[in-house]
Structures are given as structure tokens and as C-alpha cells.
Amino acid sequence: MENNSFLDYKGNYGVNWGAQTQVVSNPLLKGPFYYHYGAKFGDIADGTSNTFAMLEMIQAPSAASDPIDRRGRPWNEDSSCYQLSSDLSPNSRAPDRGTCVNRPEKNLPCINGGSIAQYTLASRSRHTGGVQVMMCDASVQFLSDSIDILTYRALSSQAGGEVAGLPQ
């Protein structure tokens, strides 16, 4: 893989893509910021209080000598930059899939390569036990790493019709 040939810029919140690997078979499971898409408030049928807008992410290292790891690029519309999906739980030890470098010791495990069918980035943070998320009503919540995966996915889809609210 090519190295960074430029100064990179990284951010620490990404937008909600929904349950990425399931969107192909069920478009209602997409998130409000899915690929080539932007939701209107009326499209968020599950409710703005029950749908993620943004989730926390970790900035992958991007020194000039590093191989390219796109994770944390808010400026780049290519996949696996800032588009977070609910295929994997928050702070998952299972690897992200995309153009990235495997760094499990930094809470940034990765399977490099693939295409749109594989791409998935988990929400990740540097604090123990969970991640901060912002819902579409602009409220901010803390989610535990061990949130039930089906609840997590229901909160990431905008119109899946699931009966799910934030864990109390």
C-alpha cells in the first residue's frame, strides 16, 4: 500500500451509515447519512430520538511515514473514512474492514482491503466501556460496549420499524 504523501487531517466523530452489510437487501436499514444519500427528517420513521446521527471514532495515526489508514478522515468521501456502521459493536475487538492498518493495541483492529460489500467501521473511543453518540434530535448519549447488537442496529437504522429505545 502507498504511504501518506501529504499531511492528513483527522476528526473524532463520524456519521451514521446504518447496518451497512444489511442495507443491500433492506434499504430501510440505512442510516441518515448512508452512501450517496442524505435523509430528510421525515425519512427518519423510527424517530429522531431513536436514531443515531453521529458516533465517536478514533483518529488512526497518519504520519507521513505511515501506510494509509483512512479511519478518522472527515474530509474524504471514500469508504472507511468517517462512515460508521452498526455491523460491529462499539469498541469491537473484531476488526474494521476497509483501507486501514491493523493496530489492535490502539483499539484499531483492521482487515485491510475489500470493496463496498466488506467496508465497515465500528464506533470506537479512548474511554473505557463505551462510546458517545449523538441522536438525530441532537441529544447526546453514552452507549456501553456490551449493548445488545440488535438494539444497537435498531438505533442505527432510520426506518427499520424495530421497537427499540436507548438502554436505560
Binding site: L88, S89, R93, S115
Partner: protein, 146 residues
């Protein structure tokens, strides 16, 4: 240093020393009890060429996973699962024959598709129970309609 602070200081030091001693003995942070995992995945009686297996905890714990290559997977203890029950999801990928240019990788990448039925991933009924101190080996024999 007043007497109050001195007493308090020694109390904190004692607790800190016990903590350091505990970490030194267990070699890791308290509660970290990860187990290595391995196993096989077959699809229609053949080893699954290329996929991903993910285990989601049914209680406390973290999600773990890895690639499946030629029907085999293995997760080292350092990235392993803590004992308990897990929901298992398996995705598998195959080329669509199409490709797209990726500017960062500076090459054409094959566009792939996920082809396993949803009863093995989004609506999975697959489970695994991770047990401490035993070989955690899991074999998943996937067949359509099963």
C-alpha cells in the same frame, strides 16, 4: 504534612500497592480472562473460501472476530473472548466480476458481494459458548435452508 494527610496518604499507598501486586500476579488487568478461539466454516459441504466470523456477547464482554480463509479461523488469546454465550454471525464474500479504481490503494479493486443467507448473519441463530481453560473450537456447517 498533618496527621490527617499522613494517615490518608499511607492508606492510599496501601491500596495502590495491593492493586499493583494484583496486576503483577495476574499479568493483566483484573477481569481480563480472554480465551483463544478457532474453528472451521463449511458452506454446502466445502470449506468457505473467504469470509468473516463475528461473535457478539449475550451479556457483558466485547465483540470479537476475524477472517475466515479456506474454511478456517483462529483468534489469538490477546484478542480472544471472555467466557460466556455469544451470538455468531458469518459473512462470506465472492467477486461480482466488476471492479473499481481506488485512489489510495492506486489500483483497481474487485467489487465483491456477500452471499450467505441471513439466517447465518443478520437473523442469525448460530451460537457459541466460550469456556475458560478448555480448547474453544467451533465448527459451523452451513447449508441453505438449514
Amino acid at each position: 504534612m498533618s496527621r490527617f494527610y499522613r494517615d490518608r496518604f499511607s492508606w492510599i499507598s496501601t491500596v495502590a500497592l495491593i492493586g499493583v501486586g494484583f496486576i503483577a500476579i495476574t499479568g493483566c488487568s483484573p477481569g481480563d480472562n480472554r480465551q483463544a478461539l478457532k474453528g472451521t466454516v463449511t458452506w454446502q459441504d466445502s470449506p468457505l473460501p473467504k469470509g468473516v466470523i463475528t461473535l457478539y456477547p449475550k451479556g457483558d464482554g466485547s465483540t470479537v472476530g476475524c477472517e475466515v480463509i479456506d474454511g478456517k479461523f483462529s483468534i489469538a488469546e490477546s484478542n480472544g473472548a471472555t467466557p460466556g454465550k455469544y451470538r455468531v454471525e458469518i459473512l462470506a464474500f465472492r467477486p461480482t466480476g466488476k471492479s473499481e479504481f481506488d485512489i489510495d490503494q492506486n489500483k483497481k479493486v474487485s467489487i465483491e458481494e456477500q452471499f450467505l443467507p441471513k439466517q447465518f448473519n443478520s437473523s442469525s441463530t448460530l451460537e457459541a459458548e466460550v469456556v475458560a481453560g478448555k480448547p474453544n473450537s467451533f465448527d459451523f456447517d452451513l447449508k441453505p435452508g438449514k
